[in-house]
Structure formats: structure tokens, C-alpha cells
């Protein structure tokens, strides 16, 4: 189990770095997919099978397909990334360093290296997730569904307006 944890973590960190570092957008997307699959492996290690499989269906199976879709349609390739001047690079490094410092200072005292709640090995199973969602968090759950519906209707309206103008 410990070996699996380190193995998955290594995959996740390396692929996450490659998402940022690789020059071609399509490689970034593929590394992000690998990162997500490794994350699903972490969920399985925590016995959260439902979460793992939903993570794969939603993020890997739907959202990343759309990412890939857009990149394919726009035909983004490595040549399209504009070359940056050294001034922008230095500015970017300094800004990122300062931001990191601020984050570190802000979260220094909030790190907890012990679990706050007792670990319940059944927490990620589908029946428990369902019970928690529909008892404790019913209101946020319903509100987020309204949010989804409104964004869907918004997307449909955007699509419709184009048709009228044509």
C-alpha cells in the first residue's frame, strides 16, 4: 500500500510538472489525463471507489475530451506559442517567487500533519456518499444543481443566438 501510494504520487507529480513544462498543448492534455488517472488511484487507496470512478468518468472521460476537442479544432501546435522576451521571463519568475512566499507565510501555521477526523473506511462507498449528500449537504447539493442547469441553459442560449444571426 505504501509502495502504491509513493508510486502513484510520483506519477502524479511528474505528469503534473510535464503538463506545465511540455511545449505542445496536446501533450499537456495527455499528461493531465495521466495525472487524473493517478489521482483516481489515490481515491481507490482511500477505499473511495465511487469517487474514483466518478472522477474518471467526469474529468478524464468528459472534460478532458472537450479540452482535446478544442485543441484539435483550433489545431494548436508547438509553433503557435509566442516567444517571450527575457524581461517578461524575469518578471514572471519574481512574481511567482513573491506569490509563493505569500502563500507560504499565510499557510505556515495552518498545516496539520495529523488527521482532524477519524478515518472512516466506508466514506467513499456509493451508499455513504449518497446518504451524506442527501442528508447533511442537501441544500448545497441542490443549489449546485441549479447552478449547473443555469450554466447549461446559458450555453444553449449562446448557441441559439448564432443561429438567429445567420
Amino acid at each position: 500500500m505504501i509502495f502504491l501510494f509513493y508510486f502513484l504520487s510520483a506519477i502524479m507529480i511528474i505528469s503534473a510538472l510535464l503538463v506545465v513544462l511540455s511545449r505542445s498543448p496536446i501533450n499537456s492534455v495527455i499528461f493531465l489525463i495521466i495525472c487524473f488517472i493517478a489521482m483516481a488511484g489515490h481515491y481507490i487507496l482511500l477505499n473511495a471507489q465511487f469517487l474514483a470512478v466518478v472522477h474518471i468518468i467526469v474529468y478524464t472521460g468528459a472534460i478532458m475530451v472537450l479540452f482535446l476537442f478544442v485543441i484539435m479544432l483550433l489545431n494548436l501546435n508547438k509553433a503557435n506559442i509566442p516567444q517571450k522576451t527575457s524581461l517578461t521571463r524575469i518578471a514572471a519568475v519574481v512574481t511567482a517567487g513573491l506569490f509563493f512566499l505569500v502563500i507560504l507565510a499565510a499557510t505556515r501555521h495552518t498545516f496539520e500533519f495529523h488527521a482532524r477526523y477519524a478515518f472512516n473506511s466506508n466514506i467513499g462507498l456509493v451508499s455513504d456518499v449518497g446518504k451524506v449528500l442527501f442528508h447533511e449537504f442537501l441544500l448545497p447539493f441542490e443549489i449546485s444543481s441549479i447552478l449547473f442547469i443555469s450554466s447549461m441553459i446559458g450555453a444553449v442560449m449562446f448557441g441559439k443566438r448564432d443561429v438567429k444571426e445567420l
Partner: protein, 343 residues
């Protein structure tokens, strides 16, 4: 570590792997024979008796052909595409219950590689990852036709995944579990889910046709417009992998349909025969495979009967036909169980 169980699972995994490959191999032969039968021809009859060695000959041909990777293609992704298509096709068979319990030397062994308590969702996840094989392959070919085929495949699969998921939700409402083994056990004694979820079954089957890119939904590779679609640039065994993955998908989706809606390994009147438990299990598995073959035949029958959809017809059917119907099915199921209080 339970070594007996491990050994049993390894052997069983290997057997299922072999059966999947052999069934897929002979599906290609079956398809050509069925096509020949429908078109009043004879079909392959040169290699071996009744042409039974034809799949082997095809396999050897695929391996021996020259392998061409286009100069402008992205080489790594070009190889990755068929690999993903093949792996995801094979991975789905892991959760399907191929039979009941086997009693070997006083121990009970399940004829299922692993019984996840989220079995259906696992199948669904593998289906949704399967899109990448086609998309990456089509994009990496650096060919307009391949790209068009890949984009068609992706949009088709995303659209039909929705209706498929919705039809599964209605099924889960009926069964109250996501584990495939429990779903099959509940259908014991002719309580097949198809009698409780006829509309859900029709939606699921239509979506299964679309997800496997079979006619009448084979737009991603429709040869009259796109030459070969996403595998235009592929040659040799990489093309073989794509074609083979389609047949494996057909086999696995038939198995999933039978598991979910047609009682899986349950055989009618099996309790009345008074046979030994092991024999009942094996007979059940045999019957399961017979049902699967019936569905594979249905897949072929429809392929050689119906013409291909146009792209807008496909999208209309998916979004305006099947999806609202599936949502209605969920509501109807929910209302029914609310008033009869069967849950």
C-alpha cells in the same frame, strides 16, 4: 496472501482474455458469413473447412504487412492511439460476471474476476476512456480525413454517453445496486430486467451501437465520405488493433447488455433440472455465451440491414430523441416505485 485464490484469479483472467480474443477473432469471420448470407453470397470458404481458418489468415496478413508511419505524423501519439483503443476494450471484461460459483476442492470460487461495488460505473468509465484511442490516433495521423473521423467519433461518443448513463440510472433505480454480480443474482428465475425496463433497454442498446461505432452509427469511419475515418493512415497491425478493438467492444457490450437486461448467466428452469451446483454454473456460463452470441448476431444483422445515419440525424436522435426519452424513463421509474413502494 491467499495463494490459491491468486492462482485461480490469474488462470481465470488468462482464460477470459483468451476467450475475448478468440470470440473477437471469430466475430470477423461471423460478420463476413452473416453479410454473405444477407446478400445471398457464399462468403469466405477458401482457408480451411467452411473458411474457418480465415481469421488466422487475416491475422497473419495483418502482422506481415509493411508498417507505414506517415512522416508528418506525431509518432508517439500515433502508436499510443491503437494501444489505448485495445487496452480499454480489454479492460472492461474484468467486472463482468461470467458465471456463478464454482466449487473446486471444497472451496467456492466466483466466475468473475472482481466484483466491484461500482461495477456498472467502471464499465462506463472504461467506455468514456475508450474515446481517447480514436481521438489521439485520428489527430496524430495529421490527415484531414482522420481528424474529421476522430472529431465525429468523439462528439458521437460524448453525446450517446449521456443517454446511456441516464438509461443506467433508471436500471439502478430498479435494482438498487451498482454491483454487476448482484444485478445478475436479482434476475434469477426469469425476473430479467428487460421486462421491468423495456424502454431503458432499447435506449441502452441504441447507445451501445453508437459507442462501438457500429452501423448505422459508423460515421467516424464511413468510407464514402472519409475514406477510412480515423484509421485512414494506419497500416499493418496498428490498423488491425483498431479493427480488432471494435470487435472486442462488440463482444463486451453484448455481454454487458445480457448482464444488465437479460439475466446474465441465469438460465430458465435451471432449478427444476436438479443438477449438481458445478454443472449448473457451467451450464449457466454456456447459456450466457449463447445469449452474447445472439446479441453479436443482432449487431451484424442491423449493420447489414440499416443504412448509415447522416451526421445531423445522428445528433438529433441522440440529443432530442434518446436523452429526453431516457430522462422520462427515469421519472416514470421513480414515480412507479414511489407509489408502489417497492424500494
Amino acid at each position: 496472501m491467499d495463494w490459491t485464490l491468486l492462482l485461480y484469479k490469474t488462470i481465470f483472467l488468462f482464460i477470459i482474455f483468451l476467450i475475448t480474443l478468440v470470440v473477437a477473432m471469430y466475430s470477423t469471420y461471423g460478420e463476413r458469413k452473416v453479410a454473405a448470407f444477407m446478400q445471398d453470397r457464399i462468403g469466405p470458404n477458401r482457408a480451411g473447412i467452411f473458411g474457418l481458418l480465415q481469421p488466422l489468415a487475416d491475422g497473419v496478413k495483418m502482422f506481415m504487412k509493411e508498417e507505414i508511419i506517415p512522416l508528418t505524423a506525431n509518432k508517439k501519439l500515433f502508436i499510443l492511439g491503437p494501444s489505448i483503443a485495445m487496452s480499454t476494450a480489454l479492460l472492461t471484461g474484468v467486472v463482468i460476471p461470467w458465471g456463478g460459483m464454482l466449487n473446486i476442492g471444497g472451496r467456492e470460487f466466483s466466475m468473475q474476476i472482481t466484483d466491484l461495488n461500482i461495477g456498472i460505473l467502471y464499465v462506463f468509465a472504461m467506455v468514456s476512456i475508450g474515446v481517447y484511442g480514436i481521438m489521439i490516433g485520428g489527430w496524430a495521423s495529421n490527415n484531414k480525413y482522420a481528424l474529421l473521423g476522430a472529431i465525429r467519433a468523439a462528439s458521437q461518443m460524448i453525446s450517446y454517453e449521456l443517454a446511456m448513463g441516464m438509461s443506467i440510472v433508471a436500471l439502478v433505480l430498479t435494482t438498487g445496486t451498482l454491483s454487476l454480480h448482484e444485478i445478475v443474482s436479482q434476475q434469477h428465475g426469469m425476473h430479467w430486467n428487460v421486462f421491468y425496463q423495456p424502454l431503458g433497454f432499447l435506449i441502452f442498446m441504441t447507445c451501445a451501437f453508437a459507442e462501438t461505432n457500429r452501423a448505422p452509427f459508423d460515421l467516424p469511419e464511413c468510407e464514402t465520405e472519409l475514406i477510412g475515418g480515423y484509421h485512414t493512415e494506419y497500416s499493418s497491425m496498428k490498423l488491425g488493433f483498431y479493427l480488432f478493438a471494435e470487435y472486442i467492444n462488440m463482444f463486451i457490450s453484448s455481454a454487458v447488455i445480457v448482464t444488465l437486461y437479460f439475466g446474465g448467466f441465469n438460465m430458465p428452469f435451471i432449478d427444476q433440472l436438479g443438477l449438481s451446483p458445478n454443472f449448473v454454473t457451467l451450464l449457466g456460463s454456456l447459456f450466457f455465451f449463447l445469449k452474447i452470441f445472439a446479441f453479436i448476431f443482432l449487431f451484424m444483422w442491423i449493420r447489414w440491414t440499416l443504412p448509415r445515419f447522416r451526421y445531423d440525424q445522428l445528433m438529433n436522435l441522440g440529443w432530442k430523441g434518446l436523452l429526453p426519452l431516457a430522462i422520462f424513463n427515469i421519472m416514470a421509474t421513480g414515480v412507479y416505485y414511489y407509489f408502489t413502494e417497492l424500494i
